[in-house]
């Protein structure tokens, strides 16, 4: 297996444009309405939120298309893709580093929160890659996006409803499954500072579990990726 240069370039340019563009729009005040939440302390969580959105929504569409067969008779979907994809996650991580440092300076975020912000993005990228590699894009796509909706929107909404109306026990542990909700806790003075670490642990463990169980799973159907 090898990586397609043109698709890798498209991935990285899109990644840069998306993250830098989100930060520019947020801090620049270029929209016709004011983004009330994006004050200096919110700059870092804004960047992490936009990175998480890219990782969870856009990155899955690149995963099956990023690797191409080096030889004509090589099967298209093998576990040999994993190191190649993880290397691209590492490149994305490094490419986003200047913007992350910049937003950290704007937001006055401590080293630990900064570390967990970057770790959260990296862990989610690995988790998404593991899901699509192990299950295959055809099997994974619909269930993945259903899970994405449940974790990102439904669980925090349940937490909100329980806090506002039920008055019962807090469902913050459910909301911690939402990567966006966890990233929002990276703001200085956020009430649940443990949430990013918990989310990293949960999705990191799931990614490791998926990769470790790969030899025991049924070989996924070949992907519909084209050859470069």
């Amino acid at each position: 297996m090898r990586l397609s240069v043109s698709r890798a370039l498209a991935l990285h340019l899109l990644w840069t444009a998306f993250t830098c563009g989100a930060l520019l729009i947020a801090i620049g005040g270029v929209l016709p309405f004011r983004l009330g939440a994006i004050d200096p302390p919110g700059a870092f969580s804004c960047l992490v939120e936009s990175e998480i959105f890219f990782i969870l929504v856009v990155w899955p569409f690149f995963i099956p298309r990023l690797c191409v067969a080096a030889k004509d008779d090589e099967p298209m979907r093998t576990l040999g893709e994993t190191p190649l994809l993880l290397s691209q996650v590492a490149v994305m991580f490094v490419v986003a580093l200047p913007a992350a440092l910049l937003s950290r300076n704007l937001a006055d975020v401590g080293t630990l929160r900064f570390f967990f912000g970057l770790l959260l993005v990296g862990v989610l990228a690995c988790f998404t890659a593991a899901v699509f590699l192990i299950l295959g894009p055809r099997r994974a796509t619909s269930s993945y996006f259903l899970g994405f909706f449940v974790c990102s929107a439904l669980l925090p909404f349940c937490h909100y409803l329980s806090g506002e109306f039920a008055g019962g026990p807090s469902l913050a542990f459910l909301a911690a499954l939402s990567p966006f909700w966890s990233a929002a806790q990276l703001r200085p003075g956020a009430p649940l500072s443990w949430a990013p670490a918990a989310t990293c642990a949960i999705y990191g463990a799931l990614a490791l579990l998926l990769l470790a169980s790969a030899p025991f799973l049924k070989t996924p159907a070949p992907a519909d990726s084209s050859r470069a």
């Binding site: 370039l9 990285h12 840069t16 930060l23 490149v91 200047p98």
Partner: protein, 427 residues
């Protein structure tokens, strides 16, 4: 015998220690809440002294000044403080080597003036305060009552040069003495100088240290524009550089490793550029300015609003004596205003989010190019600066008249003139 020798040596050592001989106000004990109250501090140092004299009251900050007294000599210095309430504990301390050597309380009891009372200082060259007749102190219009206090005019000019004469509304002295005394800044702010008898007076311009009207002047935008602009420029250049690096690699049909190397290299270059070039601090100082004009000259009042989320400047340097102004009475703070030898001041101990503003008074008008602008000043500024009766808003001036200001011990300072208005004394 040894005990007697010890006692004698101890007494001799105590005798050699510098001491505070007296602490008096130059207003004869009269004070106005929130206004500068200049103190005359007498020092005696048999074996010489070099250190700090620090005065404090109840306004949430102390004022200090470096002093050097030759061996066997005495010295008198002027030190302004701000007292707020009747029970203000005004205290002066001699400070050297990280500790207070001696302290002394104010020798007089402060008598606070009401809002309808005007402070009249009477120099001995004019005569005694007792010779003033009651009907002269109650002007026929009945709006304000003159309160005379005896005062030596010898230190008036020094207090006025600092901008610390604001509690006074009028002075009475002989014609010969009036020719020797300048009081230019205070007269520009509406202070009245009489040589024969008291007349109908209006209050001079003054700024209380606790004034809720400064709060609406605070900016609602939490961003430092300089820092935001730098961040946006950095992001745009970085994204463009990545695009160029990636496109060149792709156009030359280089491999995936070269592409990764180009992207990582560009990122490393910008991380280095960020570490070296990007401004890290975020202290913003915004200035509201008012220019006063009376028949006796010009005066400029600058109200500085420092704001920061992380930068803790060791010192903020002002070209003139800076007076901390707050919207509400502070609890204890470590704020210190240190007077420099060139009539400037250094503010130490300011920490975000301390809501203290700093007011300085300049004795002249715009430095250069201060042409009139047509834009009317914001209403909030007008409300604050048009307080003294008899002054009316005339026109606004552009930002060429920003007072000298410098900040030390941080990486970024943004000084912006938000608004400037000119107030002219109504004829």
């Amino acid at each position: 015998m040894a005990a007697v020798r010890f006692v004698l040596l101890a007494a001799l050592a105590l005798h050699d220690e510098p001491s505070l001989e007296y602490v008096r106000t130059i207003t004869g004990g009269a004070a106005r809440s929130g206004c500068w109250l200049p103190l005359r501090v007498g020092l005696r140092a048999p074996s010489g002294f070099e250190g700090i004299v620090r005065a404090s009251a109840d306004a949430g900050f102390s004022v200090s000044r470096h002093v050097r007294v030759p061996a066997g000599g005495t010295s008198e210095i002027l030190l302004p403080i701000v007292a707020l309430y009747e029970d203000a504990r005004v205290e002066v301390a001699l400070h050297r080597g990280g500790r207070d050597i001696t302290t002394r309380k104010l020798d007089e009891r402060l008598e606070f003036l009401g809002p309808k009372e005007l402070l009249l200082l009477v120099d001995p060259s004019w005569g005694s305060v007792d010779s003033l007749r009651a009907h002269e102190l109650q002007p026929p219009d009945g709006r304000y009552r003159l309160r005379p206090f005896p005062s030596e005019s010898s230190c008036w000019d020094e207090a006025d040069g600092m901008g610390a004469f604001e509690a006074v509304d009028a002075v009475l002295m002989s014609q010969r003495r009036a020719r020797e005394v300048s009081l230019s800044l205070w007269r520009s702010l509406g202070g009245a100088v009489w040589t024969d008898r008291p007349r109908i007076a209006t209050p001079a311009v003054r700024f209380e240290a606790i004034d809720a009207r400064v709060a609406p002047l605070a900016r609602s935008d939490p961003w430092s524009e300089l820092k935001r602009d730098a961040a946006m420029l950095f992001l745009v250049i970085y994204a463009f550089s990545l695009f160029v690096a990636g496109f060149v690699t792709w156009a030359r049909r280089l491999g995936i490793r070269t592409l990764a190397g180009a992207l990582v290299g560009t990122s490393a270059l910008f991380v280095l550029g960020y570490a070296v070039l990007f401004p890290k601090g975020d202290l913003t100082v915004q200035v509201h300015q008012a220019i006063y004009q009376s028949s006796d000259g010009w005066a400029v009042a600058n109200l500085h609003e420092p704001r920061s989320s992380q930068t803790r400047p060791r010192e903020i340097l002002f070209g003139r004596l800076a007076k901390p102004v707050r919207a509400a009475a502070p609890r204890t703070t470590s704020l210190e205003v240190h007077l420099t030898e060139d009539q400037g001041s250094v503010v130490r101990g300011w920490r975000p989010p301390d809501p203290a503003w700093f007011l300085t008074l300049e004795p002249s008008g715009p430095r250069e190019g201060g042409a009139a602008a047509d834009a009317p000043p914001p209403d909030a500024v007008r409300r604050y600066f048009a307080r003294p009766e008899g002054f009316a808003v005339a026109f606004a001036v552009p930002e060429t008249a920003v007072a000298p200001l410098a900040v030390q011990a941080h990486d970024l300072v943004e000084t912006r003139l938000i608004s400037a208005i000119k107030l002219e004394r109504a004829r």
